[in-house]
């Protein structure tokens, strides 16, 4: 692909997106923790919103990193973000209420060391490499945590006190009775694998789909939000198996509304930026060809 990727000009500066994404993601995660405090599951959808905030930030990080040309495709950046993020996320879940903070710290450490390895040991010498991989590992961990909290109602590894919902608990209905089961839980059923890829594709799709000379920041960020809400809808459907129907429907409706808004908005922005918007028209005559 010989698209020359320019360094960002104009638009919201990266620092602002970083802070907004981080703060919103942490707030969203703690709002979903209200589940444990109040003893309900209706706040699960805040986890999805937290994940979307993190994804929007992460996609902009990919844009910054990819401006330097990293040698492999944009998608690999999403893979390394979630590959390192999933490790930090799972480790952090055992700290209960402190999980988001532990995840951020551990992911930052892992990301920084990976960035150092890439930059110095593998001699890539990209100025933003360490910073970008640090950010992306944090984004990976936070978005996984957000979607996980949305699907299970909690981001704790095992049940906390009387709140029985966690990443490793689930239930099977046998003859009308509900029995606890590890096998039909979020981790036991490996739904985390699905969430892993939902996030890893969503984070890179914004930049990968919008790259080119006509790249616009608002269009890319809108697309990432759209991917996030789409992922949220799918997570809501999967969450029916693990949390109450009402909570899952609430998450789905929030996701659907967000998706509809961002999708129509994204189409509008594409219409704004496109050279022409044609329906069943031939290739326009261009001189010389």
């Amino acid at each position: 692909m010989s698209v020359k990727v320019e360094v960002i000009e104009g638009g919201v500066p990266h620092q602002k997106i970083l802070i907004a994404g981080l703060v919103l993601a942490v707030i969203g995660l703690y709002l979903s923790y209200l589940n444990v405090i109040v003893g309900t599951q209706m706040f699960a959808f805040f986890g999805g919103l937290a994940a979307i905030a993190a994804l929007v930030w992460g996609s902009h990080t990919i844009k910054v990193l990819a401006s330097y040309g990293i040698g492999t495709g944009v998608p690999s950046a999403g893979m390394i973000a979630f590959g390192s993020g999933v490790i930090a996320f799972l480790f952090a879940t055992k700290y209960g209420v402190l999980a988001p903070i532990v995840a951020i710290v551990l992911a930052a450490v892992i990301g920084a060391i990976l960035g150092y390895l890439a930059n110095e040991v593998l001699s890539m010498h990209i100025p933003v490499m360490i910073k970008s991989l640090t950010e992306m590992a944090v984004v990976g961990a936070l978005s996984l945590m957000g979607f996980s909290a949305m699907i299970t109602g909690s981001f704790a590894f095992s049940p906390q006190g009387s709140f029985i919902f966690s990443l490793t608990t689930g239930s099977v209905k046998v003859l009308g009775m509900s029995l606890p089961s590890y096998q039909s839980s979020y981790i036991g059923g490996a739904l985390i694998a699905t969430v892993f890829l939902l996030g890893a594709i969503a984070i890179q799709h914004g930049f990968n789909a919008c790259l080119g000379p006509g790249w616009k920041q608002d269009r890319m960020l809108m697309l990432v939000a759209e991917c996030g809400f789409l992922s949220m809808m799918m997570c809501a459907i999967m969450s029916v198996a693990l949390i109450s129907l009402a909570a899952a429907i609430l998450s789905f409706i929030v996701g659907l509304l967000g998706w509809y808004y961002t999708y129509t908005k994204y189409i509008e922005l594409s219409k704004r930026d496109a050279a022409a918007w044609l329906d069943a028209k031939p290739i326009p005559e261009v001189e010389g060809h």
């Binding site: 059923g189 697309l223 799918m234 999967m238 290739i283 261009v286």
Partner: protein, 299 residues
């Protein structure tokens, strides 16, 4: 004995499903123009060749297919955990995953094309309407077949991984096999049909893709007709053989020699493929001959 016969039946079924999935996967990605050949669809307008080809840039094929399959498997798993019949659960999972694939396709086309506005490449709404639905149909076939074979591995053959994890593993393998086999056929043979047959595309010709059909202007459905004849089936046989031979050697020979039986059979299969590969490589060198005279100077 019954157990072995049952397992072999499942293995054959899984191999057949994988073949269907591989063929559908490759045709889907060729109609959508996904993966590495898409670099030329992206490049063409920059060289002044405005075209009416789909530009569905959703990651590479392996990660994208990893998502579609893992998503189908995850949703199917969730429905099965709710005691819904597995077949219905897999159909629902595949349907929802196909919806996600369709949405990603449209956003990718709009995004890439809008970013090419500087070169005058217009967005064609009719392309989105007619091609997206066709790619979604192929995607549904591939997702349904692959999720089903993952379910067979888990439920009938007793693989320890849960369904979504198997979906991730085989989704990435499906994308890797399909893109490796199918990409050159679409990228060289179809996009550059006007270039010399039997030779690679000269780098100087990059971007000059074929944009006109026998009558009218070529669109991506024409590419689907073409690649469905060789690239698609080849990808299907490739993925089908991977799944079938992997299961077959385990199911039949795992018990022999405490696991070493399956390993020895695996080594033999690898050697057979190595010999066939060497044979066709030499065959091609002999029959097609060199492009230029051999250099006499030894260096």
């Amino acid at each position: 004995m019954d157990n072995i016969v049952f397992s072999i039946g499942i293995t054959a079924l899984a191999g057949a499903l994988a073949t269907v999935a591989g063929a559908a996967e490759d045709v889907e990605s060729d109609i959508g123009s996904q993966g590495d050949p898409n670099s030329q669809v992206q490049l063409a307008p920059q060289m002044g060749y405005i075209h009416r080809i789909y530009n569905k840039a959703i990651a590479g094929e392996p990660p994208a297919w990893g998502l579609w399959i893992a998503l189908g498997a995850g949703i199917a798993w969730a429905f099965m955990a709710m005691q819904i019949n597995p077949i219905l659960a897999i159909v629902l999972g595949a349907g929802l995953a196909t919806f996600v694939q369709g949405v990603y396709s449209t956003t990718a086309y709009l995004g890439r094309t809008a970013s090419l506005s500087k070169f005058g490449q217009p967005v064609y709404i009719d392309i989105i309407k007619s091609m997206t639905t066709v790619t979604m149909a192929h995607a549904f076939v591939a997702i349904f077949a692959t999720v089903t074979l993952c379910h067979l591995m888990n439920a009938a053959l007793g693989h320890p991984f849960p369904l979504p994890l198997l979906g991730l593993v085989w989704g990435i393998a499906l994308g890797a096999a399909g893109s490796a086999t199918g990409n050159p056929y679409y990228g060289k043979e179809r996009q550059y049909q006007t270039q010399n047959f039997g030779a690679g595309v000269p780098i100087s010709a990059s971007g000059n893709i074929v944009r006109y059909a026998e009558a009218g202007e070529r669109n991506s459905l024409d590419n689907g007709f073409f690649t469905a004849k060789l690239g698609g089936p080849a990808s299907g046989v490739c993925f089908g053989l991977i799944v079938f031979l992997e299961l077959w050697r385990t199911v039949l020979f795992e018990k022999i020699g405490a696991g070493w039986g399956a390993i020895i059979v695996g080594v033999i299969i690898i050697l057979i493929f190595t010999i066939i590969d060497r044979y066709i490589e030499v065959w091609a060198r002999k029959n097609y001959g060199p492009y230029t005279k051999p250099e006499e100077t030894s260096s």
